[in-house]
């Protein structure tokens, strides 16, 4: 037995209350085995990883239980002894390769330093070892790359360097904390392959901590499912994913959008042990036919005909370049073509998906349509009205009023100093679309009710809400201008899978009810399949393929679409 954890309790003592981040957790890992530790945010999975190498953030501390590594008790070892365990015998890989390397030291320096510390060899020998290590994690021209700084590597390459650093001391156990969460799907597949390969060739024990069941399905031999500090179920990966026993595991798995078939609604995670928020049940619906939300404003009525059959969004030959390096002479400037001659049209009431890896320009397209960037060339029409003209033009204003956006990060997209009431009321007050202040407040309360938050939320501040609740506030704010088109830029990628299911269901409901048109941007193919009627695949600022969603998933035409689909994490093998 390489690692054996028995009845581990981890507490975070705050001034008044003590939070039990882990409650009698028992785990074990064998050499040559990958254990997946899966759970949603706040489940305590990272805490376990940090507790093993005694790097808990204060005030966290292990209050009970034992951690035996190769039969040796790690609990109660002093700092000096632990330092010889860390790196030498247990390696750690962190989530974000952008931040886990020291930006001011060459990667060679960082490797050599670590090798010398763990192996006590000469400088030249350490240099040699470092080159071999880099080669073993798949970095070509390792000798030359030793002199590079971290910022000269791409995200995936950096994660390889991080893995090389974790392997520097020839450890027996690797703890990987969300090692691929910050990476694109194609890079994720490579890194997972690498970890899996290293596990087998070096006979390592690996603990992968992740929230992503797809990752677990791809790499783990065994799984432990965590929920609120408890391990609710552990066992063989095929058994857990194929035939889960515990209620929580079942609902967690059912909340993952299936890649292979389209469902009408997402199954939501309803296993909440009595303490969860029951907002979904107390939700009060408003009648769209009679309510303010269902009517059109003066501005919208006068300028955009209700029977208007023009496409909701039509862009043609849209281009935008960013300046990478300025210069006086035009030929010396280095430009990045973020969006390169893109054309598509979205019919009213349609859900249109835009999918691609990071840097493909999909968010830039959204920002161009929303008017947050000005295009270099091309046109943008909303409901048949060009919106690139003067913002004071009432026609442009009316068209803009019909388009709203929901952003990716629910934490930074709400002003922390405003009450929810003022956040949601802002579009109403800006466009003066309500009769009076009393009416505005009533509308805000109705909207908050409608998105499932409850009218009481109006008087609170954003920090009092969880990520999913904040995204509901964003949606309420977007609805407040009574738009006909919603742009959703990765609305759920910062959320847990169970919350994601709720938000996506809410969006679907609202779309049906209000006849909204959705431009849905995501890197997550299964989500796109569930949400969209048609999809455009983007790469390097250009569209590779536009197709009906089902057609794309069943028989992708473009080479790149096929490539993306092949890399998509699948769970159906266990289904």
């Amino acid at each position: 037995m390489l690692l054996e954890i028995d009845n581990l309790d981890v507490d975070f003592k705050a001034r008044r209350l003590t939070v039990n981040a882990a409650k009698s957790v028992s785990l074990h890992v064998e050499a040559g085995e990958v254990l997946g530790l899966v759970g949603e945010s706040g489940a305590g999975k990272s805490t376990i990883g940090n507790a093993i190498i005694d790097l808990l953030e204060p005030p966290g501390q292990v209050s009970d239980g034992s951690i035996r590594f190769n039969g040796e008790e790690l609990r109660g070892k002093d700092e000096d002894a632990m330092r010889h365990i860390r790196g030498d015998r247990i390696g750690m890989i962190f989530q974000d390769p952008q931040t886990s390397l020291n930006p001011l030291l060459r990667i060679g320096e960082q490797l050599v330093e670590t090798i010398q510390k763990t192996k006590r060899v000469s400088q030249a020998q350490a240099q040699q070892n470092a080159i071999e290590l880099l080669e073993s994690v798949g970095i070509t021209e390792a000798k030359a790359r030793m002199r590079s700084y971290p910022h000269e590597f791409s995200g995936g390459m950096r994660q390889r360097v991080v893995i090389a650093l974790a392997l520097a001391g020839d450890p027996d156990l690797i703890i990987a904390d969300e090692p691929t969460t910050a990476l694109d799907v194609s890079v994720q597949a490579q890194i997972l392959d690498l970890i899996r390969g290293l596990c087998k060739t070096r006979n390592l024990g690996v603990i992968i901590v992740t929230h992503d069941i797809g990752v677990i399905a791809n790499i783990a031999d065994r799984v432990a499912v965590m929920y609120r500090g408890n391990i609710v179920e552990t066992g063989d990966v095929k058994q857990i994913l194929g035939d889960p026993q515990h209620e929580y595991t079942k609902s967690l798995i059912s909340a993952v959008p299936p890649a292979d078939k389209r469902l009408h609604r997402f199954a939501s995670v309803d296993y909440i042990d009595g303490t969860g928020d029951a907002t979904a049940n107390t939700m009060q619906r408003i009648d769209i036919n009679t309510h303010w939300l269902g009517k059109q404003s003066q501005l919208q009525q006068t300028h955009i005909d209700k029977d208007n059959k023009a496409p909701a969004i039509e862009v043609s030959d849209l281009s935008l370049s960013f300046k990478l390096q300025g210069a006086i002479l035009k030929r010396n400037r280095r430009m990045l073509k973020a969006v390169d001659c893109i054309s598509f049209a979205i019919a009213q009431g349609e859900s249109f998906g835009l999918v691609g890896e990071s840097g493909s320009g999909k968010s830039t397209v959204a920002r161009l349509i929303a008017g947050l960037h000005k295009p270099d060339a091309g046109s943008v029409e909303i409901l048949g009205q060009s919106v690139l003209g003067s913002q004071k033009d009432p026609l442009v204003k009316a068209a803009r009023l019909n388009l709203q956006m929901i952003f990716q990060d629910p934490y930074s997209s709400l002003n922390a100093r405003l009450r929810v009431l003022d956040i949601v009321a802002e579009p109403i007050r800006f466009y003066k679309t309500s009769d009076n202040e009393k009416h505005t407040r009533q509308i805000v309360k109705d909207l908050l009710d409608h998105v499932g938050l409850g009218a009481d939320a109006a008087l609170r501040y954003p920090h009092e809400f969880s990520g999913g609740q904040r995204q509901r506030i964003s949606i309420a704010r977007a609805l407040a201008s009574r738009p006909r088109v919603l742009i959703c830029d990765e609305p759920t990628s910062a959320l847990d899978v169970s919350i994601q299911a709720q938000i996506l269901n809410l969006l679907k409901d609202l779309q049906e009810e209000l006849g909204l048109t959705l431009l849905f941007i995501s890197h997550d193919l299964p989500v796109i399949r569930q949400m969209c009627d048609r999809v455009a695949v983007m790469r390097h600022g250009a569209i590779c393929e536009i197709a009906e969603t089902e057609t794309l998933f069943e028989s992708p035409q473009h080479e790149y679409s096929q490539h993306l689909l092949k890399l998509m994490p699948r769970m159906d093998v266990f289904g």
């Binding site: 790097l55 030498d88 750690m92 020291n102 930006p103 330093e113 510390k117 991080v162 390096q325």
Partner: protein, 323 residues
């Protein structure tokens, strides 16, 4: 890289041009220069003659370019008071100021960085708390109070150190130094401490807050997880990352030390450029004031140029973007 240096140099030249314009205008705004030079009994003809000799009847642009041309060669004319060339006076006084600034900068840097790193790492130790609270005294008390306090304690009461002046000077021909004798060191120590206290506090607090921030980063956590020693983490990984903002402040401060050693030099009667400047203000000695202004600007510009180049040396990311 070359373009980066050239751009910075171009900016420096621009700054110097503006400053020279300001110091040139001193001559025209701070009283009538001829009035300052001649006595009460000078006749009208005498005045006109001097007026012409000084070229004050030339167009203003000609006068300005003449001023700049002379200034580039280090000539700022004669002091109204002592009738000696200004550049000679400055050269005579400069070693005293530069030595004072050097000693106080070393004190501020060494103690500031060491104490900053210490208080950043041992956040809750009693020594950290003591250092932090006593450093508040350093910022809040004005320099002259600290100077007078030190004189009272070490010169008047304990009689360990001289109270004022610069003693034990050795003339090297091109430089008059007080570093070579014990007396010289004894006389420099109090003014240097007085001058350094404010900078020391600033550096200490800056290094501390940067350290606190850096210690929270993922790469420090990752370095810990690789089992690196505390010393390697604190002094190689963390300290280097705190340096970019620290160097900016240090650069500005060394300029400030030279420029504003005025008060300390007055309190300790230290025969440096600051004392000379104060005396020049007393007598409306415009050539000295103008020259001093240009000199201080030059110091700031040169120090900042060095700082900018140091950034590139420390942080490889700046090399790529070239800013």
């Amino acid at each position: 890289m070359l373009a980066y240096i050239l751009r910075r140099l171009g900016q420096s030249v621009l700054v110097m041009a503006v400053v020279s314009l300001i110091s040139f205008s001193l001559f025209n705004f701070v009283g009538d220069p001829v009035n300052n030079m001649v006595g009460q009994e000078a006749t009208r003809e005498d005045r006109v003659k001097i007026y012409q000799e000084l070229g004050l009847d030339d167009p203003i642009f000609t006068q300005y370019f003449r001023f700049v041309g002379n200034a580039v060669r280090g000539e700022f004319g004669l002091s109204y008071r002592s009738k000696r060339p200004v550049d000679e006076l400055i050269k005579e006084r400069l070693p005293a100021t530069l030595e004072l600034v050097l000693v106080s900068a070393v004190i501020a840097l060494v103690f500031g960085i060491v104490a900053g790193v210490y208080t950043g790492i041992r956040r809750d130790g009693w020594l950290s708390k003591f250092i932090l609270s006593s450093s508040l005294v350093g910022v809040s008390l004005p320099t002259f109070i600290i100077g007078i306090g030190l004189i009272y304690l070490f010169a008047v009461t304990l009689r360990w150190l001289p109270s004022s002046g610069r003693a034990g000077i050795v003339d090297l021909g091109w430089w008059r130094t007080s570093f070579l004798t014990l007396d010289g060191w004894r006389s420099i120590i109090l003014p240097a401490i007085t001058l350094s206290l404010f900078q020391l506090t600033m550096i200490l607090r800056l290094v501390r807050s940067e350290m606190l921030e850096v210690m929270q980063t993922d790469y420090i956590k990752f370095a810990r997880a690789r089992g690196l020693s505390e010393r390697a983490i604190n002094f190689t990984h963390a300290l280097k990352n705190t340096l970019v903002p620290v160097i900016t402040i240090i650069g500005l401060n060394i300029g400030a030390l030279i420029a504003f050693s005025v008060i300390t030099e007055t309190v300790f009667q230290w025969p440096g450029t600051g004392l000379m400047f104060i005396q020049a203000v007393d007598f409306a000695d415009v050539p000295i004031m103008a020259a001093y202004l240009c000199f201080v600007a030059l110091v700031f510009v040169v120090v900042n140029l060095i700082v900018d180049l140091l950034y590139v040396f420390i942080d490889p990311r700046i090399r790529i973007t070239g800013r």
